[in-house]
Amino acid sequence: MDINLTLIGQTIAMIVFVWFCMKFIWPPILGALEERQAQIEEGLAAADKGKESLHRASAEADEIVAEARKQATGILDQAHARANEIVAEGKSDGVKERERQLAAAKAEIEQEANRAREELRGQVSAIAIASAEKILKREIDGKAHDDILGKLAREL
């Protein structure tokens, strides 16, 4: 229990151990601890950022889908309208075509009738002239009465 040289020996040993600890033990361990702290902080910040950007992206995606749906509805509506239009156009074209053909047929019929009437008129006048010739052959020169007969034929 006396104080002796051991005291000095212990003091020297302590100085050496503390120096060694200060030089080679404490800095790397604490450095690693602080680095890990920084990494964890960074990781959490990155996770937050990621969450936020995911949030933004999903909102954007929702927006795009809604927009696309709206466009699709518009296109569908347009297509319906166009189809209706085409059907209506076709209908009106058909009606017009029918009327046109009807008119053409009517005109042809009338023309035909006119021609037939003309022909008939010519034939009638020819028959009248022939019969008149036959009647008058004996009495009058045909030529002298031609103009009268022509007039008559025109009037018929």
Binding site: M22, W26, R36
Partner: protein
């Protein structure tokens, strides 16, 4: 144990004093080296205390340096995690108390904590194991708990004491250090007739503050020494009981486990507190 142990007729008091005897070496006046005849010789060395202290210090240094060398930020090994827990505990203790910047104090606190803990922990090795083995090997005395040697605790507290003075002078200057010793707790009068009383006031302050300053290393070392010495003594006394020692030994060991850790922590914490007081500017 010795009461029924294999070393013949050794009385209880012989057994106890044998256990409390350091293995010493010193040089006599005639110039030759002798073992264990050094009572009162200030040049003696307690070889067992020194050996165990250095061995445990080396264990601390090697283990922690091994962890520090292989340290990995991303994939800490289990041992690294254990070391990190201790380092972080010491670091937070230092940061809570010491508000300056010092590269020395945290490693100092770590070294003190782990080293003192390991030295105290030797107290939990059954008291006869190592001394008996040493005796078989021809070593007559072997005291395995370095912190039950007052030289060891004083050696550490003196290093702390030197650091206290160094930090005081570094942070407050030589005049600040002298002022701290002489101008507190009673401020000496500076005017009128009171000036006559000033030297007495200063002398009074100086005595008071010197005692306070010197009490720091003394109390630091004696606290650790007293606790561990008493614990060791009780282990020795329990060991004298023969077979009945087992439950008692276990109970005391469990209780002592607390003391071992607590005393290491107190030594570390008081070192930090003293150094932070020394570097605090008022």
């Amino acid at each position: 144990m010795a009461a029924e142990g294999g070393h013949g007729a050794r009385t209880s008091s012989e057994y106890i004093s044998h256990h409390l005897q350091n293995l010493q070496v010193c040089r006599t006046e005639s110039g030759e080296w002798v073992w264990n005849q050094c009572a009162g010789n200030p040049m003696a060395i307690n070889v067992d205390s020194m050996f165990w202290s250095l061995l445990l210090g080396l264990i601390f240094v090697i283990l922690f340096h091994g962890a520090a060398r292989k340290i990995s930020v991303a994939r800490p090994s289990k041992f690294q995690a254990f070391v990190e827990i201790i380092v972080e505990f010491v670091d937070s203790s230092v940061k809570d108390t010491f508000h300056g910047t010092s590269r020395l104090i945290a490693p100092l606190a770590l070294t003190i904590f782990v080293w003192v803990f390991l030295m105290n922990f030797m107290d939990l090795v059954p008291v006869d194991w190592i001394p008996l083995a040493a005796e078989q090997a021809g070593i007559p005395y072997m005291k395995v708990v370095p912190t039950t040697d007052v030289n060891i605790t004083f050696g550490m507290s003196i290093a702390v004491f030197v650091l206290i003075i160094f930090y005081t002078i570094m942070n407050k200057g030589v005049m600040g250090f002298i002022g701290e010793l002489t101008l507190h707790p009673i401020a000496p009068p500076t005017r009128g007739l009171g000036l006559l009383a000033a030297p007495f006031v200063i002398a009074f302050n100086f005595i008071l503050e010197s005692v306070a300053l010197l009490a720091k290393p003394v109390s630091l070392s004696l606290r650790l020494f007293g606790n561990l010495f008493a614990g060791e003594l009780i282990f020795i006394l329990i060991a004298l009981l023969g077979i009945y020692q087992l439950p008692l030994h276990f109970g005391w060991a469990v209780f002592h486990l607390l003391i071992v850790t607590l005393q290491a922590f107190i030594f570390m914490m008081l070192t930090i507190v003293y150094l932070s007081l020394a570097s605090e500017t008022h």
